[in-house]
């Protein structure tokens, strides 16, 4: 019998209405929940503590969520260690320790399939990618490897891959004239892209080069944490990017996603909304009651997907705050839910005269 998850992965990402999706998605989640309940001690303990039995999982909403912080404190695996082919680390933005995610071949393939399927909806044909980053042979640190690994996920869309920064993370002006100027997509991590713009916005030769590129698409990933700290808004960022790279604002694609659920990414459409594909689901949880919020109300973003097999990251409560803007009716034409990311929550201040214990 064919896996419900594999069946789901055959679907076009935004072709189904929410109602049509719910049934198929629920079946895939059922299969995934049963698998992890059996294979992961940690997931089973959480389910048991919340009196959740996989066979009684009548809806996706009631599947227990794991806060993403668990991936920083536990090595969560649902397959034997021997099946792990790759270990991914998140950037440790809100704490000192990164998340550790173990991937087996099946999960990796599913993630690639989902990512390609989603991105095909945004990038019609292959592009010459100008990567605003350094190659990892220049810096073999975990962070650089992790960044390159995320970038390489877009490989199927690359006509060519051109790294633009040197080992000091500066624009390599000596090589700039060798870069392609036709059919280009400029890609980088949000904070790095912004840094490079600030460093070069008064450099006329660099700006002249980017002017040569006609209608580039800009893809940026990796989140807003570092820019939020600098109080840079999305509007301000888009304005700078648009001016520097000489591109239309609707061609700037901010991709939301989590290291803990690679593949199921959420790119901005031309309306600036992030779309939920058939491969995953988003719920917004009330910050106090943890109940699911209505459309238009902010709360914690919960991300659900049956894709992870090697680790029990199928229902995650993120540190991010966002809200669903609508269902099936985005002017861009994509079906399903669409949402906005608002902010990432930080570490709470200690109030009062109580204290931690060392």
């Amino acid at each position: 019998m064919k896996s419900e998850i594999e069946t789901l992965l055959e679907m076009k990402p935004y072709s189904l209405s929410q109602k049509e999706k719910n049934q198929i998605f629920s079946k895939a989640m059922n299969e995934s929940v049963k698998f992890h309940y059996e294979k992961s001690n940690e997931f089973r303990k959480i389910c048991d503590n919340r009196n959740f039995l996989p066979e009684n999982s009548s809806s996706v909403e009631i599947i227990p969520f794991l806060p993403v912080s668990l991936f920083k404190t536990f090595e969560l695996r649902s397959v034997p260690e021997s099946e792990i082919i790759k270990t991914i680390y998140s950037s440790a933005t809100t704490s000192n320790s990164p998340s550790t995610i173990f991937l087996d071949e099946i999960t990796s393939k599913r993630q690639t399939k989902a990512l390609i399927s989603i991105m095909k909806d945004f990038l019609i044909n292959k592009k010459n990618f100008l990567i605003i980053d350094q190659k990892n042979d220049l810096d073999n640190s975990k962070e650089v490897k992790s960044r390159e690994s995320a970038i390489r996920g877009f490989f199927p869309f690359m006509e060519s891959m051109n790294f633009c920064l040197n080992s000091n993370l500066k624009l390599d002006v000596n090589k700039i004239d060798e870069l392609p100027t036709q059919n280009c997509c400029i890609m980088g991590f949000t904070w790095l892209l912004y840094t490079i713009i600030l460093e070069n916005e008064n450099n006329s030769s660099v700006k002249d080069f980017f002017k040569k590129i006609k209608n580039p698409i800009i893809i940026h990933i990796g989140g807003w944490k570092k820019l939020s700290d600098k109080k840079v808004s999305k509007e301000e960022f888009n304005q700078k990017v648009s001016e520097f790279f000489n591109c239309k604002k609707e061609n700037i694609i901010d991709i939301y996603g989590m290291t803990e659920q690679l593949g199921t990414i959420y790119p901005d459409c031309s309306e600036g909304n992030k779309h939920v594909s058939v491969f995953s689901e988003i719920f917004i949880r009330n910050i106090d009651t943890l109940e699911i919020e209505e459309v238009g109300t902010s709360g914690f973003i919960q991300l659900v997907s049956p894709i992870p097999r090697s680790y029990p990251g199928i229902s995650l409560l993120s540190d991010d705050i966002g809200k669903i803007l609508g269902v099936d009716d985005c002017p861009c034409g994509r079906k399903g839910k669409y949402f906005r990311f608002e902010k990432r929550t930080e570490k709470a201040d200690i109030k009062g005269c109580g204290d931690t214990i060392d």
Binding site: N41, E42, K45, I46, N49, R50, L66, P67, S69, L70, T73, F74, I287, D288, T289, L290, F300, L317, D319, I321, T345, E346, K347, A348, D349, I350, K351, G352, C353, G354, D355, T356, I357, D358
Partner: protein
Amino acid sequence: MTKLLISNGELVNSETDSIEESIELIKTSRKWLHEQKIDDILEYVDVVGKRWSDEFKERIGTNTSHVKDFLSKSHLENKLDIALHGNRHSLDNFVDLKDPKLLFHAQPRGVSCHWIAGNVAILGIFSSIQSLITKNVSIIKAPADYELLSDLIYSLKNINTEKISGKDILKCFEVVYIDRDDHENQKLLSNSADIRVAWGGHDAIRSITSLPKDPFTEDIIYGPKYSYVIIDEKAISENMISISQKIALDVSTFDQYACSSPHTVFIKTKDEKMMSDFSKSLSKEMENVERILLPKVKETEEKAKEIISTRSEYEIKGKVISSKNLSWTVIISDEDGFAQPTFSRVIHVRPYNEDSLIMEDSRKIQSIGMSVDEKERLELADKITLFGGDRCPSLGKMSFFDSPWDGMFGMDRMVRWITTYK
């Protein structure tokens, strides 16, 4: 933004560039306060306690009766006598403390500056009153949620006794709000202090103590501290519901943000069923306290995230009983030692292991709530407080301010001892 909230006996509530004027104004009340007799001041404070417990009952909450009891004349007479080496009248003139050659007089140090922590503003009231009854004038640096503190202090204006006018007493307090980034005014405040009373967590205390001060300034640091509970099998088998109720109250008062709020309950038993039964009982009482006595105020997103993370972590490492929302959490595990506090009504239940409770290099422990066999209570209290731990109160009273507090007779440290020969 820096604000004068109460100044020169008036409610001001306006922004200011500098608190310099407040510092000068408060000094002018020193002589008047020094001339008042301690028994008259205590009588005044007694009336204040009664009025506050009537008029601010709703806002002070479960601490109301404690505020009234603590401020009562008989209670403070006793506490002052103990703190001032046996005779509170040493505040009025030279007294005989049974030294063969010397007479003693406790003079106020002068200007007492209080840095009050958010969420536990009522504790700051106690240090302010202690300053008053040791005849020190006060500048109170209020927390961002200063309304209750400011209203309590301002209410003094209309509280009078036969000997003391509220208008005069109010002039012994300046209340200011200073933004945490306003370093200039923070420095001014610190430099003006003869006594610095600081309530707060680690970062707040570090920031206050790093401010410049006069070499003769006395520092009284309340916090950053950690508190816990020890109970034994006898307490559980004889009084499980009652001790659960009391612990639930201790945890829920101040939403666990006070240094006296417990974060771990250690049970002296190897009986897992007893631990489990107690945890269920505690959970029930946490729910009752939240529903009936102390409804939980909505938490920040950041704290909500931490509670969710802690719950999930211990769903894996132990067992978690919690409200459906984030109001309260009881975590049972067999982990050793003190649980890292999450605050916000997250209480851990763990097996007792004496060795892990004695921290030789830390003075962080404050209150150790106890319900153990009377035969061994004092011996146990002696053993576990050798290196840290400042008080071993009974359950249900952990957050009741007392003297001494944090191992200090604060009122003794608010005075200078003057001697002369007999």
